[in-house]
């Protein structure tokens, strides 16, 4: 079980690193997907090894996959808008507002 949890932790860290350092918005979205999938591995591993009397962890991960897909749809639409308004999808350019 430790192997699964470590895999999830590594994936999650890679995703988090990607979200923070990536400049390309598509890259940020890919990193977000990595984070969601790390959570899925966690849920399935806990379900398999600790909570064996129900399937809640697996159901939860199925829900996460669906919601992440819905989120990606909206995200990609926003990326399209970015491209139309800025002719590029680097998050560096998108800084009209500053404090």
């Amino acid at each position: 079980m430790l192997a699964y949890l470590s895999l999830a932790a590594i994936l999650f860290s890679i995703g988090m690193f990607g979200v923070i350092t990536r400049r390309n918005v598509i890259g940020i979205m890919m990193s977000l997907e990595l984070m969601f999938n790390a959570v899925n591995i966690n849920f399935v591993a806990f379900n398999k090894f600790i909570v064996t009397d129900s399937l809640l962890g697996q159901i939860f991960s199925a829900f996460i996959i669906v919601v992440a897909a819905a989120e990606a749809v909206v995200g990609l639409a926003i990326v399209l808008l970015l491209y139309r308004n800025w002719q590029g999808i680097n998050s560096d350019q998108v800084n009209v507002m500053k404090w």
Binding site: F63, I78, M97
Partner: protein, 502 residues
């Protein structure tokens, strides 16, 4: 493993189902009439919210869907807030329709309704899976709404920032939830409270994982609430998003975050509040967040020149005050949180509505462009003044009673034992920063009333716009002078957590 179908009480879910179907009908109606229906579709959305309020008032308490859906007084109280803020947001967006989104009225109103359904669903969940679904159903329509002006760079930028931060925060929260599931073996929050306490007593070394889970979940919900240090997106999104959407974000989405916070922390992690749980004590973590919120929100708001940005920072500060009530975890604390949120709805939605009407006419959100407004549109200027003073907490308006209730609850808790003396710090900083708050809230008032020249804009209100301002005014004045019914109603909230100290 044996599967049996849990008992389904579909009637408990009637308000959510009705609103969902109504939103679908609105889109259909908009398409069928070939989008040539002026304001009809907006009035339909308002009518739907009113009918939904009536349905809500006859829906009883109880649990269905195998405890996944749970109607209790807290859910009812917050559902009223969600419906109210959606009503005021939709009614204040009628002028917006003329300018920019003439072709997408149906989608705009339907998305607000979908988001409201998500919030209502969230407030009825007593279980992490349905809580997560509700939270996502709340935020995904809001991503679209924030980026609704497709050709406006500000709006698209706001949408992008809100999307990245929102998705990131829900990933953080999910990772935390997965650890809670692993530690407790359940996603039911009441069961989790018991299981976690047992696990904690049996194995003393779950501390590290639990701390990680608490931090991750706090981060995730902190983003939704704009609780520092997770607040950086707030002013940008509020400035860029369409004004009614910013208003809805600041009240509806914030109330949803509060419900999620109360459910996870006060229900699921109840055992880990208090000094003896030192590394896992979430009370102090949230307390530090609240202090940062009050200081950052109130101080940075002073130098803002854009009124939407200023209201954004002010909403960060308000979260700080609300969180004081939340961490002083006695019965009166939760009552004060509910009451604060209720009055905050009237004052903030009203202020944003006035800003929206002014923006429709003048196209500007700069505080300096409000100069001399009291001479050309005295009613609007007076009502904006009232809303801002209520936000600042000036008696006899409702904001004062709300702040008083929060501080009273905190002092009550702080005096109950040495372990809770740190709450005095929250009260002290809260009182101190309230003074700063007065400074920037009065700035637009000064521009409107104490200026020699007349304003070039004369704003006449349409019927729905007038209704919104009137509702806000009645709310802050009536519940300022006569807060008892709402306090009575809010005091039932703590019955949802039937184990709090008095």
């Amino acid at each position: 493993m044996n599967f049996q179908l849990p008992e389904i009480h579909i009637s408990l879910m009637l308000p959510e189902l009705f609103l969902f179907i109504w939103a679908l009908l609105i889109i259909t109606f908009d398409v069928v009439t070939k989008r040539k229906n002026e304001h009809t579709v907006g009035y339909l959305a308002l009518l739907g919210l009113l009918i939904d309020g009536a349905i809500l008032s006859v829906t009883g308490y109880g649990s269905g869907f195998g405890n996944m859906f749970f109607n209790d007084p807290m859910a009812l109280f917050f559902k009223v807030i969600f419906l109210g803020s959606a009503f005021m947001a939709i009614a204040s967006s009628f002028g917006l329709m003329h300018q920019k989104i003439v072709n997408h009225r149906g989608e705009f109103y339907a998305l607000i309704l979908f988001s409201t359904v998500g919030m209502m669903f969230l407030s009825s969940s007593d279980e992490l899976l349905s809580l997560y679904i509700g939270l996502e159903l709340t935020t995904i329509p809001l991503f679209v709404l924030a980026a609704f002006f497709k050709d406006d760079r500000l709006s698209v930028e706001a949408g992008m920032k809100y999307f990245v931060i929102g998705a990131f925060s829900s990933a953080l929260m999910l990772y935390g939830i997965s650890f809670l599931y692993g530690l407790s073996g359940t996603t039911d929050l009441v069961q989790m409270k018991i299981n976690l306490a047992i696990t904690h007593l049996t194995f003393k070394d779950i501390g590290v994982i639990l701390s990680l889970a608490v931090l991750l979940i706090l981060g995730g919900i902190g983003f939704k609430l704009a609780l520092p240090p997770f607040h950086q997106w707030t002013p940008d999104v509020y400035e860029g998003a369409p004004t009614p959407v910013a208003a809805f974000l600041s009240v509806g989405s914030k109330a949803a975050g509060l419900v999620a916070f109360a459910k996870i922390f006060i229900n699921g992690l109840y055992a880990f509040y208090g000094a003896e749980m030192a590394p896992n004590d979430w009370g102090r973590l949230v307390g530090v967040g609240a202090i940062l919120a009050m200081i950052i929100g109130n101080v940075v708001a002073i130098r803002q020149t854009n009124i939407k940005r200023m209201l954004g920072y002010s909403s960060i500060a308000q979260v700080g005050y609300i969180m004081i009530g939340m961490v002083s975890m006695n019965e009166f604390g939760l009552t004060s949180v509910g009451f604060y949120m209720f009055t905050y709805m009237f004052a903030n939605m009203g202020a944003f509505a006035v800003v929206a009407f002014f923006e429709d006419k003048s196209g500007s959100c700069q505080i300096s462009s409000y100069r001399g407004l009291s001479k050309t549109s005295p009613f609007l200027a007076t009502s904006l003044t009232m809303f801002l003073l209520s936000l600042a907490g000036i008696p006899p308006l409702a904001g004062f009673v709300a702040k008083y209730a929060v501080f009273a609850a905190a002092i009550n808790m702080a005096t109950s034992g040495v372990a809770y003396h740190w709450i005095f710090w929250l009260v002290g900083i809260g009182l101190l920063t309230s003074v700063f708050a007065l400074f920037y809230y009065v700035n637009p008032v000064k521009q409107m009333f104490f200026s020699k020249e007349d304003s070039p804009y004369k704003i006449s209100l349409s019927a729905p716009a007038f209704t919104v301002v009137l509702i806000g005014l009645i709310g802050i004045v009536l519940f300022g002078l006569y807060p008892d019914p709402i306090l009575q109603f809010a005091s039932q909230i703590s019955a949802s957590f039937g184990f709090l100290p008095h």
